[in-house]
């Protein structure tokens, strides 16, 4: 459990900086602070206490207390703590000071809060970020009085390529040539060198949060959460379930926690194998792509055997899991893992023996450690840039506290480092599954008597293959009052600007892919069709 001394330090810090309320429950610290004092507290947390920034969640609480609220979620990973800082604001003049100059990682989520809930931020430039440029002013989708099925008639148009008098523009997208997902990059090049980057995303924002808050029930949302991402969906459904379980203080049977961890690791293996294949393909090494995906197929079959489906496993419910692992399946898992491990080691050896491949990975797409820290990047991107953070170790969830594993960290911050992190993680996952299968406890897999009281707040994170997922929930009657999702790519895309600047154009596709982007997780609302010229929405260099 968390050291009492650390909590007391936080209490002292918060109260000395003018916090009006302080509470602590489990691994989460709650602080309420006035608007005027928010910036001071954020600076102390982010730079003095060396916390990471997870996300912020704006909430329309007019039905509870008549205010709009903004929750900034910080993470003190070294001490295994979440720190939730709440600020109130009036609905008729919702202004909160921006912290994006102190905490660069908060840039995107502030813009999201402005677009979707209508919270204004003083001290920064605000612009349309997620919603289409033609979206009516003053209509905020996540306000409680906006119906979920309201669709303003918007003119349909495509993505327009910007023109620049100085440098040539190379558009990448709106459909990624390798990852088959909609996003839009504009690369400004001079000769072979990329000098600037613009990103336009949120083409597939599907309104998942709003849908869950208005017309689904607690147990149905597990299946919706799984559909946030096509590759790491199970992480989202685990994260949702465990956040609700945390809010409602539901005791989940140990066996269910073990099964969750095992399936999560199966998903990590197949996701990394997919990425390694795609990376090889982008480098023109299609042999590697074919073999990586051949090995992945064994894992996909295993996933189907364990859960009933190759993807979107659908075995998670609040309170436990729906499918047990028997002896026969246990044997099959171990057999498959042995095959996968053997083949994977051989393949990686061979791949890294191709000199051209290594040359193109080494020293390209560099993200220095300081920049990575400023932007609070997550997952293999963080670990490839020397940041030693992994939610599985720092805030253990499911059954990870029963397994021993090493968190791979590489310091170079280039594409090769990110590849090596993923290679090590595949082998780590195989070892975790073996350890957990060995200790799999007997017993039930589903908690009895699930009761979810109203008005509870909880946040929790899950280490997905791409980095940490963060879910934040305020419980309501029969469904969440507010459900905020932060997918890992959301935190990693801003780092692309730093990786790409000064790169050769030929290395751009690989560098973009090197964060293993998942655009559909990052986007969550409406189909965006707008014809205006888009502004730069990647952060400035700090």
């Amino acid at each position: 459990m968390v050291n009492k001394q650390i909590i007391d330090n936080y209490r002292e810090l918060a109260l000395s900086l003018g916090a009006s309320d302080f509470a602590h429950s489990g691994d989460t610290v709650y602080i309420v602070v006035d608007r005027e004092r928010l910036r001071g507290l954020a600076e102390a947390l982010y730079w003095k206490k060396n916390c990471y920034f997870r996300t912020c969640a704006a909430t329309d609480e007019t039905k509870i207390n008549g205010f709009l609220a903004l929750y900034h979620i910080f993470g003190d990973d070294r001490n295994g703590l979440n720190i939730v800082v709440k600020t109130y604001t009036e609905p008729n003049n919702p202004v909160i000071p921006s912290i994006s100059d102190i905490v660069p990682a908060a840039d995107w989520c502030e813009l999201e809060a402005y677009d979707l809930v209508g919270v204004e931020f003083s001290g920064r430039k605000l612009y349309r970020f997620m919603l289409p440029p033609t979206w009516p002013k003053g209509l905020y989708p996540l306000r409680k009085d906006t119906p979920y099925n309201y669709r303003p008639g918007l003119p349909v148009s495509g993505e327009r390529i910007s023109e620049s008098p100085v440098s040539a523009v190379v558009p990448v997208g709106p459909y990624h040539p390798a990852l088959h997902e909609p996003e839009y990059f504009e690369l400004y090049v001079e000769g072979e060198k990329v000098v600037d980057v613009k990103y336009r995303g949120f083409h597939v924002h599907r309104g998942i949060e709003k849908l869950a808050e208005t017309r689904m029930t607690y147990q149905q949302i597990n299946f919706l959460a799984e559909r946030i991402c096509g590759i790491c969906g199970f992480e989202h459904s685990v994260c949702y379930a465990q956040t609700v379980e945390k809010a409602a203080k539901i005791d989940v049977p140990e066996r269910a926690l073990f099964i969750r961890s095992i399936v999560l690791e199966v998903e990590r293996i197949h996701s990394h194998l997919l990425w390694i294949g795609v990376a090889a393909h982008l480098l023109g090494y299609d042999t590697g792509f074919m073999h990586s995906w051949r090995i992945r197929e064994l894992v996909m079959y295993l996933a189907e055997l364990l859960t009933g489906s190759r993807k979107t496993y659908g075995i998670n419910l609040i309170g436990g899991v729906r499918k047990d692992i028997n002896e026969e399946k246990k044997k099959k898992i171990l057999e498959t893992l042995e095959l996968v491990e053997k083949d994977f080691k051989k393949l990686v050896d061979t791949m890294l023996g191709v000199p051209e491949l290594v040359k193109r990975l080494k020293g390209t797409g560099i993200l220095p450690r300081e920049e990575a820290r400023k932007l609070s990047v997550v997952g293999p991107v963080a670990r490839g840039s020397g940041l030693d953070r992994d939610i599985r170790r720092d805030l253990p969830y499911a059954a990870y506290s029963y397994a021993e594993f090493k968190v791979p960290v590489y310091d170079d911050g280039d594409n090769l480092s990110r590849l090596l992190v993923r290679v090590d993680e595949v082998l780590g996952s195989i070892s975790i599954i073996r350890q957990l299968l060995d200790q799999l406890p007997r017993g039930e897999i589903m908690a009895e008597d699930i009761e979810i009281p109203e008005g509870r707040i909880a946040t929790s994170s899950v280490e997905a293959p791409r980095g940490e997922n963060v879910h934040f929930i305020i419980t309501g009657r029969g469904k969440p009052y507010r459900w905020r999702i932060r997918a890992p790519t959301y935190q990693n895309i801003p780092a692309l600007k730093i990786m790409l600047e000064g790169e050769n154009l030929a290395d751009a596709p690989l560098t973009i892919a090197s964060i293993d982007p998942c655009f559909s997780c990052t986007d969550r609302i409406y189909v965006i069709r707008g014809g205006n010229r888009y502004r730069m929405i990647l952060p400035r260099r700090y």
């Binding site: 055997l305 489906s309 083949d343 023996g353």
Partner: protein
């Protein structure tokens, strides 16, 4: 260990792996024993209680009252996510999971299935409520009289209120 020509080892790996593609659809598909496919509803067992409709995340199962005294449970495969939550919650085990997944068709009506239930009519006001089968299920499972079940919820409530009035000797509430 890796010489300059180390990457040629891929030829060995490829030879060991052999051909992995299958001649599907000329061969049986590669789905495991635990695969979740389309569901089948046994209309003889279904009582039209609507549990599955409440549990279904994507609204693939919906229920509506149609025509003169019919309640219809509709299953549209096009929306189904094959989660089998309906199977979990069905009180009479009327829904069965299959491993069927080859559901493509050129006629969208092939994707629709329906179970038609006759609704029960109230012996007092002749109004429609529940379904005939659900009524029978309740009588079988719970020790209550036909006299009670044969009335619609509204008449039942009124009857109860009247009983209270008699006992208390008070005046009508209306």
């Amino acid at each position: 260990m890796m010489g300059k020509l180390g990457f040629v080892k891929i030829l060995v790996i490829a030879a060991e792996a052999g051909r992995v593609t299958r001649k599907y659809p000329y061969e049986p598909p590669l789905v495991s024993s635990d695969f979740r496919g389309k569901i089948e509803i046994d209309e003889t067992k279904c009582i039209g209680c609507g549990s599955c409709v409440l549990a279904c995340p994507p609204n693939a199962l919906v229920m509506s009252d149609e025509g003169e005294g019919y309640r219809v449970l509709k299953y549209f495969v096009g929306r189904c996510i094959f989660c089998w939550r309906c199977i979990d919650v069905c009180p009479v085990d009327a829904i069965k999971g299959t491993r069927e997944f080859e559901l493509a068709t050129d006629n969208v009506e092939d994707l629709d299935e329906a179970v038609i239930h006759k609704r029960a009519s109230c012996t007092e006001c002749n109004g429609l409520y529940s379904t005939v089968k659900q009524k029978a299920y309740v009588m079988e499972k719970a020790p209550i009289t036909e006299n009670y079940v044969d009335k619609c919820p509204e008449c039942r409530r009124n009857k109860l209120l009247r009983a209270f009035e008699k006992r208390r000797g008070g005046e009508s509430l209306e």
